[in-house]
């Protein structure tokens, strides 16, 4: 029942914050990795290099789907901004359902940019079905396709280190975040500007995906404070023998 109340509260807050924020622009704190990503979007178009967006191997049929959906929202913006480039962005994933949605999202980005005819289905790829198979296929893209930035947003385990190492060898900039603790530790050690925890879900808001993305950041902050208060309250109650 607590989970249902939390979901209903989050839904109500999301709608309320989104409607409340319509007229004013939100101020977001600086996250160096996301500012870097924003800069790289423009640079890649100018210098004729490609962005490689890797969405991991999280299945949409389980709890790992959340990070994949966040990655897809970011991919939609990147596809729209880079679709007119000589070297349009390439996306890779390690799950078949996610692969289909990757292609659909890329196509939507091209349609939004008004260059639907430039879309090629092979821009969205399924590089492997096991974590290592996926990583090996994604490494191939970053090594052979004139990639300037590897963006990893989704579910990655320790195999992210292989991709990071390949990026390092090719002097490719790497920005990554995972919902998995092992993957996150690996990406922390391997990237210049690390994204920790929920920052994975902030990418859309920082790239200008719309009011709903900014509103969901505000809702996350509100819920986080509520959880902190509940934890502190519970600890105090336990300490004083109330519960």
């Amino acid at each position: 029942m607590t989970a249902l109340i939390l979901i209903v509260l989050a839904a109500f807050l999301l709608l309320a914050v989104m409607l409340g924020n319509r007229k004013s622009s939100a101020r977001l704190r600086d996250i160096p990795a996301l500012l870097h990503l924003y800069r790289m979007l423009g640079l890649s178009v100018e210098d004729g290099t490609r962005l490689h967006i890797s969405l991991g191997h999280g299945s949409l049929l389980d709890a790992r789907g959340g990070s994949a959906l966040a990655g897809l929202a970011t991919l939609r913006i990147i596809a729209e901004r880079t679709s007119v480039s000589d070297m349009p962005a390439v996306a890779s994933s390690g799950d078949p359902v996610l692969g289909l949605l990757t292609q659909d999202t890329l196509q939507a980005g091209y349609q939004a940019a008004g260059v639907d005819e430039l879309y090629v289905p092979t821009a969205g790829r399924i590089t492997g079905l096991s974590p290592f198979g996926f990583a090996a296929g994604a490494m191939n893209i970053s090594q052979n396709e004139n990639v300037s930035t590897n963006i990893m947003l989704g579910h990655f385990g320790p195999e992210a280190a292989l991709l990071a190492d390949a990026s390092d060898r090719q002097s490719v900039t790497m920005i990554g975040a995972s919902d998995n603790l092992s993957g996150q530790a690996v990406l922390f050690a391997n990237t210049q500007d690390a994204l920790i925890g929920e920052e994975l879900f902030a990418a859309g808001a920082y790239l200008g995906a719309g009011a709903s993305h900014v509103a969901s950041l505000t809702v996350q902050d509100i819920l986080r404070w509520l959880i902190i208060l509940a934890l502190l309250g519970g600890a105090a109650a336990k300490f004083f023998g109330v519960i």
Partner: protein, 203 residues
């Protein structure tokens, strides 16, 4: 068409979510999840065709790394054909699995160990800040504390510091990160349920 896609996706999402809280919807939830599993199976076939299409395209254009693409396509076709003819349980298919696929993944795991060690060594050169120092010191304490040594645990580190760091500090931090990820997942899911994000059916 896009509106119909959105209605189907949102209705399906609401019914599946509802199934977790209302027992009356559990049957519908199971049915929809079973359909999703069948569709995921079909998506796997589509994924394999996508893989073949990407790599045959590379071979045709003679792009960099096309030799590997050719090996991949030949390997995939041979495994598929022989797997269908002989069945996956056949001795020859087991040899392919145990002699090629498993050792290759094990080799990648070995490369991963070296990559992680190299990344740890380079971390301070890449980003010399307090977080990196804490990260490395924590990793060193955990390694030293859990290492199998001929004389047993290192006094203090193995018996007191490592359990305290891993059970209190690291566990607390991990839970904090997971709570953040869970909140992000929930708001992302709600955006999809409200139709604000539609990663399906075009724009």
């Amino acid at each position: 068409m896009r509106v119909i896609n959105a209605i189907i996706a949102i209705a399906t999402g609401v019914l599946i979510l509802g199934g977790y809280f209302f027992p009356q919807l559990a049957g519908v939830q199971t049915l929809l999840l079973n359909w999703a599993i069948i569709l995921a199976g079909v998506a796997t076939l589509v994924g394999i065709f996508n893989l073949i299409s990407v790599h045959t395209d590379k071979i045709r254009r003679g792009e960099k790394g096309s030799t590997y693409s050719a090996l991949l396509v030949i390997g995939l076709a041979a495994t598929l054909i022989f797997g269908m003819l002989l069945r996956p349980q056949h001795d020859a298919m087991q040899i392919v699995l145990n002699g090629i696929i498993v050792p290759t993944e094990a080799a990648l795991m070995g490369v991963l160990t070296v990559s992680l060690l190299y990344a740890a060594i380079r971390l301070l050169r890449r980003r010399a800040d307090m977080m990196s120092i804490i990260f490395l010191v924590t990793a060193a304490i955990l390694f030293l504390g859990s290492a199998t040594l001929p004389f047993g645990d290192i006094p203090l580190i193995g018996t007191l510091i490592r359990p305290w760091v891993s059970q209190i500090l690291a566990l607390g931090g991990a839970r904090g990160i997971l709570i953040g990820v869970a909140l992000g997942t929930m708001t992302t899911g709600l955006r999809v349920l409200f139709g604000m994000d539609r990663p399906y059916g075009g724009q």
